[in-house]
Symmetry: C2
Subunit: 213 residues, 2 copies
């Protein structure tokens, strides 16, 4: 029996992604919370196993895996069903580009360490930090809507849930926390609703994690 431990934080987008993927694959895992709010990611104990000090990190029979999109690829190799990306090269490239639009063009600009730098190092007020957050989300979601719409179905790519949806749902959860209006993205909202109806997504939601109690 494979021992799987997920080091995560309940509200971290990339952690939320990995919880969804593990649930979709039906992989049972122990959860080890690393509180970003308390700075646990900078603790000596955590740095010893993950020098970068980021979440999520997945331990798979002792092997340590970082970067949510690399973890998806690893999971697809080890647990075939359901695949997180389509089998055909064109579909793969499309779904990967949707996921990467979120993972490279939106999320890195808006994660906690960046918002903290704007506030603490550059001295910005919360209103300016919020405006920064919204600016990159709106830029990114508009691009994603345009990219996804032509080939979307119930989900971002056809009628099968996959890696793009897994990245989308946490991003929209975060966008709502910052009161970003989402009406301009009907394709994204449709895929989000279809995803959230699945138990794998519901169980991965930040509010469903123990620390959120």
């Amino acid at each position: 029996m494979t021992r799987v431990v997920l080091h995560d934080y309940f509200r971290s987008s990339a952690s939320y992604r990995v919880r969804i993927a593990l649930n979709l694959k039906g992989v049972a895992y122990e959860r080890h919370e690393v509180s970003l709010l308390n700075g646990d990611q900078k603790s000596e104990a955590y740095r010893a196993i993950n020098p970068q000090g980021f979440v999520p990190m997945l331990e798979w029979d002792g092997q340590r895996l970082t970067q949510s999109l690399a973890i998806f690829d690893f999971l697809d190799s080890h647990v075939k069903e359901p695949p997180l990306v389509p089998g055909d090269p064109d579909g793969r490239a499309h779904v990967l580009s949707l996921a990467l639009t979120i993972a490279c063009d939106i999320h890195p600009l808006n994660n906690l360490r960046v918002l903290k730098y704007l506030k603490n190092e550059l001295g910005h007020e919360q209103a300016e930090v919020d405006a920064w957050y919204r600016y990159w989300v709106v830029e990114g979601l508009a691009a994603l809507e345009a990219l996804a719409a032509p080939r979307a179905g119930a989900f971002l790519y056809g009628d099968t849930v996959g890696m793009a949806d897994i990245c989308l749902v946490p991003q929209l959860f975060n966008a709502r926390r910052f009161d970003v209006p989402l009406d301009a993205y009907p394709t994204l909202l449709r895929a989000e609703a279809a995803s959230l109806a699945l138990p794998a997504f519901a169980a991965a939601h930040p509010d469903a994690q123990e620390s959120a109690a």
Copy 2:
């Protein structure tokens, strides 16, 4: 004969990555420069084929592909040799995590649109923008060095060039433009030197592109 057109900008990191990958695979391509300096990426003509207005975009027999890491995956499907990621799941996950550390944790914070926002929207002096640039590069390269060192050889993963090296070389090129000291990253410097000795990398270098003349 497949018609391959790369829409790129000579100094864009992600474009530089794709040129390297195409060269390694021996794929002949036409290059269509989109000058980020002149704002060509915002032109109606370019937005019509790429609504996000980013480079690179690869046209492969008319199919339009965005996101450099998705393009690598597509290339690996269509042109098997040399593979850009290892065949075994563990090696794959490791190389993908190295590439994603660059593509998600460093590059998005430092690309032109972000530096422009800091300057124009938030009113920062060039010195503050440069400090921002260096801060994220140093954070990211330190993480990458720690992550890569245990399994590196001549290249970032063993003695075979791959996707991680393809992402590394443009990132270090950029770091040097901003005078970031690199002595603390011997593994990265070794992989960079081995990579730059390959004709595929030399031919992809920004200075070797026509617009750089």
